[in-house]
């Protein structure tokens, strides 16, 4: 399937070179195929920027990003991205069915060919019965599921997720987390998962990468693998889980306080 992502000494400045906004400073990370990397950090640390860089929506000011050895310029092939503001990514004038089919539609697949795939993912994401509804008729969690189904439908080998559950209530979040694990059971994509929720990062990730406040750099990488490959929400209550969470929190705590004081822009 191929999904080796290589981030090398990436720096990103927005605006003019000297007085612009330094978002990321010399970030380096190697992501192996099939890994789920959680990216945690305080608000504004640049984790979304990093994700956008991997997706080719932004270009690094210096450094490079390689996917399967090839340099990223523009949006790479076979990438799937899920955003925090799901309602803005779904087309409100299309039904759920038509929205899910959009990914395949853009790749040139005809309606008849799309149908079995779309129906398969509707089923998989628990959206049966909602095919004809419009996005605004669905709850937040369901909308995000539609976005997920759409992203999965064209079987990308890399999944980029930008705080996908931040705008969803806590209970639905747990359900959606299980969804992510289910998805990975089906096809072992390489996933880069950005979140500000430490526990979510530890639960889902094979490795957890901790970032500092702006300008973002990698502060620490934790080998997590707490679930040992299983889907097991109960693991969140174990001592091992909690001690890991404490460690990560200890690393970021000061950064979070720093970012609270920073001016919002």
């Amino acid at each position: 399937m191929g999904g080796l992502i290589s981030i090398r000494e990436v720096t990103k400045t927005f605006g003019a070179k000297t007085e612009g906004l330094l978002a990321l400073r010399a970030v380096s990370l190697e992501i192996a195929q099939g890994e789920l990397i959680s990216l945690v950090g305080p608000s504004g640390c640049g984790k979304s920027t990093l994700l956008n860089l991997v997706a080719g929506l932004l270009t690094p000011t210096s450094g490079e990003i390689l996917i399967e050895g090839k340099r990223v310029s523009g949006v790479p092939e076979n990438i799937g991205m899920v955003f925090q503001q799901y309602s803005k990514t779904l087309l409100p004038w299309r039904t759920v069915y038509e929205n899910i089919g959009l990914g395949l539609e853009l790749k040139g697949m005809r309606g008849k060919e799309r149908r079995p795939i779309v129906e398969d993912y509707i089923d998989f994401m628990g959206l049966s019965g909602f095919e004809r509804k419009k996005p605004y008729e669905l709850s937040g969690g369901m909308q995000q599921r539609v976005a997920l189904a759409r992203t999965l439908s064209y079987k990308p080998s890399i999944l980029l997720m930008d705080e996908p559950f931040a705008s969803v209530d806590a209970q639905t979040r747990e359900v959606l987390q299980e969804d992510i694990l289910r998805i990975r059971e089906k096809e072992r994509q390489t996933v880069l998962f950005v979140t500000h929720d430490i526990r979510e990062a530890i639960y889902l990730g094979d490795r957890a990468v901790v970032m500092s406040a702006r300008p973002g750099r990698i502060k620490g990488v934790f080998d997590v693998n707490i679930r040992r490959g299983r889907r097991d929400p109960a693991v969140k209550a174990t001592a091992e889980f909690n001690s890991l969470a404490e460690q990560v929190w200890g690393l970021i705590k000061d950064e979070v306080l720093d970012s609270l004081r920073a001016k919002r822009d």
């Binding site: 956008n52 997706a55 929506l57 949006v75 092939e77 990438i79 799937g80 991205m81 955003f83 503001q85 309602s87 803005k88 990514t89 087309l91 409100p92 004038w93 959009l102 990914g103 853009l106 790749k107 419009k134 996005p135 605004y136 008729e137 976005a147 759409r150 992203t151 064209y154 980029l160």
Partner: protein, 273 residues
């Protein structure tokens, strides 16, 4: 019976009942004051009691004495002129607005020019248009077309620019080309703005047409009103004004109805946002 009453009361409590009562009370007051000739004697010669104007209106609709007072004909004339101007304006302006909204270079160069000319009243061009197109319908339609175009360009421009960048980004990650994004996202995103532009243009178009009809012309509601004034037949003038109100309001409300049906997804989404 009880249920009907409750539905009626809810409709009333929603204010509609009060609104109509207010309007009715106003007309009633007018009628009384006019009949009693309160205050200045001559004032009520022009402020004809509504009942009289309504009667005249009805008679002009059904049996116009001569062509100049054929309200139905003149309403039709004003309407079709405004309609043509509207359609022409939309056809010309929307592509221009799209082009400006999509290509930033075009936007940067032409929009300032555009913005400077926008406050210019299109009526000021009317005399030039009379020279070019004569004193008939065409010059009036052209004047209105200018007005409509300015509105529609701005609205289409805004519509294109307001397409959510998150939406565009998510489409790009799925491998969409610029043409794809335009066809599948931008067009629809711009639709509510274009629709609202059309709503404004309907009013503007009718306004310009009626105005030009008053300045120079032999047909249309504007002409009728002026004609009646010339002959000091005020009840006829009020009939013309009433017809203008019906035409103007009717067109706008009709469009709003269509808008709500076609753009249901937009109103629902923004309502819940």
């Amino acid at each position: 019976m009880g249920r009907r009453l409750r539905v009626f009361l809810r409709w009333g409590l929603e204010g509609r009942l009060w609104t109509f009562s207010l309007i009715f009370a106003f007309c009633f007051l007018w009628e009384i004051l006019a009949r009693l000739q309160v205050g200045s004697f001559f004032f009520w010669d022009f402020m004809v009691p509504p009942s009289k104007s309504l009667a005249t209106f009805y008679s002009l609709l059904t049996q116009p004495p001569y062509q100049e007072y054929d309200i139905l004909y003149h309403s039709g004339t004003t309407l079709w002129r405004a309609g043509v101007a509207l359609m022409g304006g939309v056809l010309v302006a929307v592509p221009v607005g799209f082009a400006l909204g999509w290509w930033r270079a075009l936007d940067a160069v032409f929009t300032p020019l555009f913005e400077f000319l926008r406050p210019t009243p299109s009526l000021i061009f009317f005399p030039i248009l009379i020279l070019l197109f004569g004193t008939g319908s065409v010059s009036k339609i052209m004047a209105s077309l200018i007005a409509v175009s300015f509105v529609m360009v701005i609205n289409s421009l805004y519509g294109v620019k307001s397409t959510d960048s998150v939406l565009i980004n998510s489409l790009r990650t799925m491998g969409a080309s610029n043409a794809d994004i335009l066809r599948k996202a931008v067009l629809y995103s711009a639709l509510p703005h274009i629709a609202s532009g059309i709503r404004v243009s309907i009013g503007a178009s009718i306004l310009v047409i009626v105005s030009t009809e008053m300045i120079q012309g032999k047909e249309g509601l504007g002409f009728v009103i002026y004609f009646a004034l010339d002959r000091l037949q005020f009840d006829h003038m009020w009939s013309g004004i009433l017809a203008t109100l019906l035409v103007g309001a009717g067109a706008v409300y009709l469009w709003q109805y269509v808008e709500k049906k076609v753009l249901k997804w937009h109103f629902e989404t923004t309502a819940r946002a």
